[in-house]
Symmetry: C2
Subunit: 596 residues, 2 copies
């Protein structure tokens, strides 16, 4: 069975046999993960569409791919010559297919889903919109797998303990914090579904998901005994022994369906509604207390060991980027390079660094107008050819065993720079500096801080269509909740107050369609600066160390404090990276770090 149309027809046959009128296939896994492992790429397999966001809805007459504006062209391209049709979402991530289904389905129809792929609130939304027509939503956890016969296995690589020299806190200590909250809530268990929460809490890492060293698992933390649902074959005997000492029993992943109802019967369970899937909700037979994940809150505040190790990763990134950009400049003197091969070369320079495991996301290498495509991914075949002229935006990062990095630099490769680009670049830089050196009272939330990164762009009639920054993990997710900088209240990045010792990116930009893309991104760590009669004040310290291109700056637009910031930053960059460099590399870096 090879073609998309054959797959859809097979699904329709199964639907008919089971009296299912519509089947919804979303992009998600059972853990509401940002990226999913191959096993959960069901929507990709049934539609051919590989974008990160989209939902396929199949009826006997339609195969509707719902996605947002970022992916219209990609769907039209990848789903051409199939029965899959593009349905345009007005708002990214909005479940606009549900009202559509409620409209097209008849009274008493049946919708099929895999409960594991839907959160409780998503399920409730379907119920709410379809109850008037008495439409039923039923669970078919095996139906898609019966059709997808060569479906990949669930990840099976070894699960490794993330050592205390990198984590900085023992599993016992972390579990005690969760147990204290269980007691505080007068509950019996804390149930966790988020893979990053579980990886942090148990200090475990593996290779389950591209770019992210997480482990496929559920966890039920009890005051006495704790259950980790994760295939036992993935743990060596030493790890099993360590967990036994902590009263943690490892049970196979699939046992969750059988054990959760038994263990939860008559008990009180604390859990986070945002990551809980409907199958787990349905499986919990006790009382549920919903709470924003405590582990998410704990994990967002880094300890001294994590901070020191991440600084070491930033140094490694700085060395790799120095070598990469030197190579790029030299090579462009004699030849053109495709965006795709530039991305591969960058990965190879990072991979030379100690403890490198992977990139932290698929590098964005955007030349000229491609830099304006926020989530651009240069195709293997036919990506743009880069010459020694104009703007090149590169957003990239590494997963090292001792930390995670994320950096964007926009560089001028040659030729005369227009005033328009200088003004935009300098305004982005001013916004970056404004937020970096801001001092703000305890309680200040993301949307307030976000404004400082935009103000200098706004004054020029410019802006950018994304948040200013996100939390970042420690050898974990590159986009980590909860805090960040966003210009709206729709996510925790806008509403969450910053606390000391959090890692957050500062990445304002400016984009003109088909013309240019500019972004300057550092990771900062937050810290307490001062407590006086007016309150407690926090601030940031940049820990990313790599020069910011000064050719693109219109110095007239900078005030003295901004010039000082830039010169001090470059002084720090040189002091930190240069001891690790060869003489020729030092010279190159010195030139890039010279005072303006």
């Amino acid at each position: 069975m090879t073609t998309i149309n054959e797959r859809i027809e097979a699904l329709r046959a199964k639907m008919k046999a089971n009296n299912i009128d519509a089947f919804i296939i979303p992009s998600s896994d059972p853990h509401q993960s940002e990226y999913v492992c191959d096993y959960w790429k069901v929507r990709v397999w049934f539609s051919g569409f590989t974008g990160s966001a989209g939902t396929l809805v199949v009826t006997q007459n339609e195969a509707a791919m719902w996605t947002d504006g970022r992916y219209f062209l990609q769907v039209e391209d990848q789903c051409a010559d199939t029965c899959v049709e593009l349905y345009k979402q007005q708002i990214p991530h909005a479940p606009e297919h549900i009202p559509w289904l409620a409209e097209v389905l008849n009274e008493n129809a049946v919708i099929g889903i895999d409960y594991r792929q839907f959160s409780k609130s998503q399920y409730d939304y379907i119920q709410c919109l379809t109850s008037e027509k008495n439409i039923e939503t039923k669970n078919y956890p095996h139906l898609l797998g019966e059709i997808w016969q060569d479906r990949p296995e669930l990840p099976s690589d070894e699960v490794k303990i993330h050592p205390i020299e990198f984590s900085g806190e023992s599993t016992a200590s972390k579990l005690n914090k969760v147990k204290a909250e269980i007691k505080n809530q007068k509950a019996n268990y804390y149930f966790l579904s988020s893979l990053d929460d579980i990886a942090w809490l148990f200090n475990i890492r593996s290779t389950d998901i591209d770019f992210t060293p997480l482990v496929t698992a559920y966890a039920l933390v009890g005051e006495e005994k704790t259950y980790l649902f994760s295939d036992t074959s993935r743990y060596n005997s030493k790890t099993i022994e360590i967990f036994k000492q902590l009263n943690v029993e490892v049970l196979n992943y699939d046992l969750i369906a059988e054990k959760l109802p038994i263990l939860s019967e008559g008990k009180i369970i604390v859990t986070d509604a945002a990551s809980l899937n409907y199958a787990s909700f349905d499986g919990i037979k006790g009382e549920i207390i919903f709470q924003q994940s405590l582990v998410q809150q704990l994990k967002a505040v880094k300890n001294e060991v994590e901070i020191e190790n991440t600084k070491k990763c930033m140094l490694k990134d700085g060395v790799a980027l120095t070598r990469f950009y030197m190579w790029l400049e030299e090579t462009l003197e004699n030849q053109e390079l495709s965006e795709y091969e530039i991305g591969k070369k960058l990965t190879s320079y990072r991979a030379e660094q100690p403890l490198y495991k992977d990139d932290s996301f698929s590098s964005i290498v955007g030349y000229k107008g491609n830099g304006a495509i926020i989530h651009y991914s240069a195709p293997k075949e036919g990506s743009a050819m880069v010459k020694k002229e104009n703007l090149l935006l590169i957003d990239s990062g590494g997963q090292y065993e001792n930390g995670t990095t994320d950096i964007t630099r926009t560089v001028w490769l040659g030729g005369e720079i227009s005033d328009e680009i200088k003004t935009a670049y300098t305004s982005v830089l001013k916004g970056h500096i404004e937020l970096d050196q801001m001092k703000f009272p305890k309680g200040t939330i993301g949307i307030q801080l976000d404004a400082f990164a935009r103000m200098h762009l706004w004054k020029q009639g410019l802006n950018f269509p994304h948040g200013t920054g996100h939390g970042i993990g420690s050898y974990a997710m590159v986009h980590e909740p909860t805090q960040g900088f966003a210009g709206n209240l729709a996510t925790s990045r806008g509403t969450e107050a910053h606390k000391p010792n959090q890692f957050t990116t500062i990445e304002p930009g400016c984009y003109k369609k088909d013309t240019y893309g500019i972004r300057i991104e550092n990771v900062v760590v937050s810290k307490e600066l001062e407590t006086n009669s007016f309150g407690t004040f926090y601030g940031f310290e940049a820990i990313t160390v790599f020069p910011i291109d000064t050719q693109l700056i219109d110095k007239k637009l900078l005030i003295p404090s901004e010039i000082n910031w830039l010169n001090n930053y470059h002084k720090k960059v040189y002091e930190i990276i240069s001891p690790k460099l060869k003489p020729s590399e030092k010279d190159w870096l010195k030139e890039k770090c010279k005072e303006i």
Copy 2:
């Protein structure tokens, strides 16, 4: 019956006779007004406490005055020698007395209230907390009045038409907008309780409330016929005739209780939950659609006539303040003046201006440490004596028949200025300028803009404990919804997006207890600046015209664009005000407006 204790005892006797276990007496009127007329000052009459916020709860054993930190001292002072005891609220305006009541009352107890003084959500909150004990909340609209035998009458002054030369839009045109919304909602009526909404919609003004020219009324706007519940004796025959032409029938205020159930029976009514009292909610016999008041939204955007007239009022304020501050400087050369008499003198200078009706609030005249008390009101007896030294903060405003003003200036009266005060003052000024000259995209909300007024204070480890600004009416309320600048999301001032042609105050400050208070406040009008491919951008224009004290500025802390802003502002101030001044006044103003 004269003492507070006798009043409480009389209330307790009535409660006993009616089997009421607790009576709640809030500060509010039936329209959720910010200030209330004398008739509704029931909480003041029963307790002796005159502060703006507080709720008296009377049982057979207790007379509990619940208020927040601003008023602890005042309650202790005004309620000394009475049976009224202070109960400290942790959070201003929070109904912390309800959980307390739910605790102290027995099963099946009865709470008495006047339904008109409670919004639906306040009533629901009582129900929610007391239902477990089967406590009943009953309506006693006459009980307090039976005890308060010399209770003032409801306002009876003539209701005047606010002429089109000042309002800029006819009642017919405004009513048509409401009728369009009724149609849009497929409803029959729009019900209005807010006095400022009603004053705007019907273009009526009177003297019902101190400092605010509103009319006590309810309105039921129908697609065909409209009812204005407001005592007919207050309208002359010409006004009645104008309304008749518009199919508006004026019915006596008290008839609302009888007519609302009849008119609403079987109908669909749109109304705003925030201003609807529980008596009206109870009286509506049809279906209710809750909606943030459309009139509030319409009213917040001013028309050209309102803008031009308000600018004229700003000029009048500027002339009055020039004369006042000249008098102040001259008088202090030879004598000391009390804060109270300074406030009276300022009122007298405003009163000399054409179309002056009243002050727009009770002037705040705070000398030295008194300036740090945000809602300071200098007492008639024993207010601080002002000498020709140190800081004087004056926040004041006028109600003119063609507009409403609100301005704060902080001036140095003599002696050497400390670096601490210069830094604080200059940081307040920088914040004021930053927000005044900000350019921001459509959709930007109050909490984002508020941050710009604080950033320069934050950088110095300073801050201020109030919002940065509020909407302001046009010969209406000095604190007008919906937009503003606030550092939190608890009010619409933080969450509402700014639109062109709104009046908002910019008033950052800095306060050190017992030491100094600094605030610099202008009114600005918002306007569209530019539309380009990055979006539509708005900005502000200051319309308050009076010099900002330059003695207090530490010029080293200003950047060139800030110095330009200040010099341009002073140039504009002089150009606008000076033609209305006598030669000696012109000289004084010229000196105050000279370039720095």
